[in-house]
């Protein structure tokens, strides 16, 4: 009998045929039903009826987040309202929110895409999935939920918050799969440990499917050590669906794209040229069978690459590498490009400080000033001012050689950096306040 997992090992030519067929339909549907695309293609002289190969897609103009904002709330919808079953919205922290719509079919493929994370972990009806992404307009909660249900897991819709109750449920309901942001997983682990528990023994987790924010390999290793499970990175964005666009398998060596639902290109973010396989650049996504809000060549601003070659797990869907930051949360400090993940990697080489950090950007006399706030660990002997200054200097020196830019390091009181129950606020940029 055919199983939904069969597509994961289909020959790649078969996937390409699905992609070409789907892209042709998507582009025409966008042109005929979404005024934005009609105008865009007419003005660019792009013929939506002339796509003959996957390479032809590169002739189509890009879609940006700004385009989606400009068409808020429903002008990007390609189906009538009566076919839309659900709405989600991006957080909108950097401007007007962007809206995603889902038909019944769209919800079904969403569940299917996220369920792959469970299947990669050989999971299914024997698993209990604890979902503490926020439920609501944010795609994390319901996306993971639909995935859990689709894979046959007993799915617990915890949503975010009330950490002590989360810990009680993790202990008492025997959850085996944890879905939340990586920073919240760390917060759960640390809180449980502070309550005198050993999450490795007192919880029953075997897999965590964590996404919505970037995390380093070191951060992953620390999570796995504390919770005694395996962490799989999940990627997605409201503009194309939500979490599940790509998920890691147990090899933890790149995230398998759901290539039967999304077509990925990597471009040079400056020139817009498509880059050869294996090169780092900006991920551009086209939905293949999305009905309500299809997008063609959507610029994600996420920096990754297609990993060349086949995965040891035997699945044929190509992998994207773990994100190397975003083009828009990349920090430009005195002209130097800095990714927060680079800072985190340096910090983790210092056992005296914990993994919580915050970067503050200010401007003094028109010069960028970067302050990295870190919290001391309990075993750090800070009795002398000299010891604190020395540690600050050592961290700062190592950052300087890793990033080629000077940062001021400040040790701050434990627990003074806010813990997030959603996305961690790692960077506070108040450079615009400079006079």
């Amino acid at each position: 009998m055919k199983k939904p997992q069969d597509i994961l090992t289909a020959p790649h030519e078969e996937l390409e045929a699905i992609q070409l067929e789907g892209i042709k339909k998507t582009v025409i549907k966008c042109y005929e039903n979404v005024p934005f695309y009609h105008k865009l293609y007419d003005e660019a002289g792009f013929d939506p009826y002339a796509i003959e190969s996957l390479d032809d897609l590169a002739k189509a103009p890009f879609t940006t987040k700004q385009d989606l904002r400009d068409n808020y709330p429903f002008k990007m919808f390609a189906v009538p309202q009566e076919d839309v079953r659900e709405i989600h919205m991006s957080s909108g922290t950097t401007g007007i929110a962007t809206v995603g719509g889902y038909t019944e079919h769209d919800l079904d493929i969403w569940g299917d895409c996220f369920a792959r994370g469970v299947w990669y972990a050989d999971g299914g009806p024997k698993d209990v999935m604890h979902v503490c992404y926020g439920y609501g307009l944010f795609t994390g909660g319901l996306g993971a939920h639909y995935g859990g249900v689709k894979a046959g897991c007993t799915t617990i819709p915890m949503s975010a918050g009330n950490t002590e109750r989360q810990i009680r449920v993790l202990r008492e309901m025997g959850s085996t799969i944890l879905c939340c942001t990586p920073s919240y997983a760390m917060y759960l682990a640390d809180t449980a440990i502070a309550m005198g528990l050993d999450p490795k023994k007192d919880f029953h987790l075997r897999v965590g499917i964590h996404g919505a924010e970037a995390f380093s390999d070191n951060f992953r290793a620390e999570l796995e050590k504390k919770l005694g499970y395996k962490v799989l990175d999940v990627y997605g964005l409201t503009e194309t669906m939500g979490p599940g666009v790509a998920i890691e398998c147990m090899e933890q060596n790149g995230l398998h794209l759901a290539e039967d639902h999304f077509y990925a290109e990597i471009i040079d973010p400056k020139t817009g040229e498509v880059l050869p396989e294996g090169e780092w650049g900006e991920l551009v996504l086209t939905t293949i069978d999305r009905e309500a809000t299809p997008v063609v060549r959507y610029r994600t601003r996420d920096i990754t690459r297609i990993i060349p070659g086949e995965c040891a797990c035997g699945r044929t869907h190509r992998r994207i590498d773990r994100l190397h930051g975003r083009t828009d949360d990349m920090l430009i400090i005195r002209g130097v490009n800095v990714f927060p993940s680079q800072i985190e990697d340096v910090m983790k080489t210092f056992p005296q400080v914990s993994s919580w950090y915050q970067i503050e950007l200010t401007r003094r006399n028109h010069l960028d000033v970067v302050t990295l706030k870190v919290e001391p660990n309990p075993d750090f002997d800070f009795d002398e001012v000299r010891a604190i200054e020395q540690l600050q200097r050592d961290i700062s020196d190592r950052l300087k050689s890793a990033l080629s830019v000077g940062l001021r390091v400040r040790i701050v009181e434990p627990k003074s950096i806010p813990r997030s129950e959603g996305k961690a606020v790692r960077v506070i940029d108040s450079r615009g306040d400079d006079q």
């Binding site: 800070f382 009795d383 009181e413 434990p414």
Partner: protein, 134 residues
């Protein structure tokens, strides 16, 4: 050698008051409190009757506190009392990381010192006829 409590404190409003209240709630009585301050943070050093309980209470209240072994010496409360003591240590090439002084009784003061080589320092101080506070 006695146990001093050291607390890492950010320079924010009300933090020191909260610290002393946390100690009061734990029924800790302080003999001395001194602050080494920088522009961003301060190190609060406390001599009290129950240092271990004090650290536990501060930890519970969200502070980062540790105990540190320091030397407490009784010196006569007169001009030159401290100079006599420090010259003995200087003669042995012992570095003083920090020090502070508080008066316990009318006729004598107690000096608290963090010294680079405490074992040698204690011996030198005792050989010189000074009394160590317990």
């Amino acid at each position: 050698m006695i146990k001093q409590v050291t607390v890492f404190l950010e320079n924010t409003k009300g933090r020191l008051a909260a610290l002393t209240r946390a100690l009061a709630d734990a029924n800790v009585n302080m003999e001395a409190l001194t602050i080494a301050e920088t522009s961003d943070y301060g190190l609060v050093r406390i001599i009290c009757d129950k240092p271990v309980e004090a650290v536990a209470a501060l930890d519970g209240a969200g502070f980062r506190a540790i105990t540190t072994e320091v030397i407490a010496v009784v010196v006569p409360n007169r001009p030159g009392g401290l100079a006599d003591l420090l010259e003995k240590l200087d003669a042995l090439d012992l570095n003083i990381e920090y020090g502070y002084c508080f008066s316990a009784k009318a006729g004598e003061a107690v000096d608290v010192l963090k010294v680079s080589d405490p074992t040698r320092a204690v011996k030198a101080i005792e050989d010189a006829g000074f009394e160590l506070a317990k």
